[in-house]
Amino acid sequence: MSQTTQTPPAAPAETSNRVTLGWSNRLLARPEVGALVAAVVIFVFFLAVAPAFRSPGSLFTVLYQSSTIGIVAVAVGMLMIGGEFDLSAGVIVTTAGLVNAMFCYQLGINLWVGALLSLAFSLALGFLNGYLVVRTGIPSFLITLGTFFVLQGANLGVTKLVTGSVSTPNINQMAGYSSLDAVFASSFRVGTVTVEVTVLWWLLFVVLSAWILQRTKVGNWIYASGGNADSARAVGVPVRKVKIGLFMTVAFLGWFVGMHTLYKFDTLQAGNGIGNEFLYIIAAVVGGTLLTGGFGNALGVAIGAFIFGMTSLGIVYAGWDPNWFRAFLGVMLLLAVMVNLYVKKLSTARKVG
């Protein structure tokens, strides 16, 4: 590569020599296509083996399950494209809900105030994660592992201190509940199926993320920061700001799901959310995001979350022995990643020598 830049005259010759990919190969080279093929394979598979999977109602249950993972995964995917990890994403969801519930319940304040306070708090946590990562240069894996443990302990400790128990009091009689419930946790019926509002929010966030990544300057910055931070900085990309922003995006969508969980279930167990951080990362990786950064897209991450939701519930719809649940899940996810990889190989294999 450095050679070509040093010898500009060679450029025309290179152009004529270049392997031009056909439209099918260009399509296959997109990160989400492998995941899409895997999703279709798994979908058809469960359609075949699980009669209960075939109803439209089941599809929307799957979509709901996928959305609760998928919403945070949108941000985690963007963060991973930007070259960083966030292991605190699972507990931030619970932290956000706890802050809102306890603040309002103890002081008897309208829940909207608590929701906004919790938003500010979550964004501050995201900022802290990002700031520590760009300031210290310590891998984000370690920084956010630290925040993960701190939040996990603080969730339990503070909740116990404030409420005397490890779950929050029921908030469904408080001012502001019904409007917040409508925004974050309502559902409506279309024909015979119940659509959870989170599914719509998920779609919106995916579209938004796709637009940012593919169509805006910030999107280019994200790819550049994740691909090679030093060269990105050299050409004037504000890498630090981009990364801090990405961590705050994760915190924002974590807050969003935290609000959903709180207003759907009215109380929160302080120990919840642990382990979900990996589901977000899995969704992103199954969806074609590279663990090393710089590659992936929003649609792929969404399909990854859908594959996870479909597999985890498909096993239930199929009525398989529950003791084997995790084993089935593991095999399915491995298959998904392998199909993904295979399709990508097909697409990038050079046909001309």
Binding site: Q269, G319, P322
Partner: protein, 333 residues
Amino acid sequence: MTLPRARKSAKVAGVATAVALVAAACSSGGAPSTSAGGTGGGGGAGDNSGYTFAMVTHETPGDTFWDKIKAGANQAAKNNGITLKYSNDPEPSKQATLIQNAVDSKVDGIATTLATPDALAGAVKSAASANIPVVAFNSGIDQYQKVGALMYFGSDETLAGTTAGKRITEAGAKKPLCVIQAAGSVALEARCAGVKSAAPATENIQVNGADDPSVVSALQAKLSQDKSIDYIVTLGAPIALDALKAIDQSGSSAKLITFDLNQDAAQAIKDGKIQFSIDQQPYVQGYLAVQSLYLYKKNGNDIGGGKPVLTGPSFVDAKNIDAILPFAKNNTR
């Protein structure tokens, strides 16, 4: 306040000493967190014994069930001027280390759960050889004597499951679904096995108890996969509330019963949404574990006559919920 609790326990335990103890628990007050300071005794039964006991459990942090165990244990410690050191780890080997830590720090007595008796046997034996009395509570009913614990306070999980199974079969259950919220737990498996022994058509499902949305969608999926499910048995109060959502959203007519109680579940029983709860009275387990160590150290008392002292199964349903609801709100039931 004394009467219903004493009557219930008498029915359950049938051990005179235990009744006396429970009655004593009531007379010295039910709300443990009101007065924080002071290790002095509560009421006339107080004693400034100065003992230090260690309580070691397999608690996974964040389950309201253990709040009640701790509330009971703290109340007993406060009544008798005991310093109580609480520690927990869900992993058997680490729990064994915690017991060993207590032995090394030469406490006066150890109360431990025996969810994984084989893994903990060594640590319990080393306590015995250091002349530190050990009592077991909550789990380990079949093995507590073998590993060398002096007494046992808890519920018989299989019996609890069987009783619940019988009761729903009598109520017309054809196809119960038993919901396990933590994979690989002996106690939870025993409950479901108990239910199955009385209602052979029972099917199990595993859910991730740490993620409410996924519990709801998994149960919704199961209810639409198998429409013949007419009863759901949950093994913890928070899961019961998730199950209510799932039943509601899938339009199923399945009925719900649950193990254990919390404030919201108690309210749901009052509202008729949960048929009944099989309560093992965690507050009593924590209380008696500490109280028994105290009595053993002080007077050499033995509780239970060489047999386990049962704190459950005790049924909470529409008939007695009015009396129990205030206790549930108090975190003592």
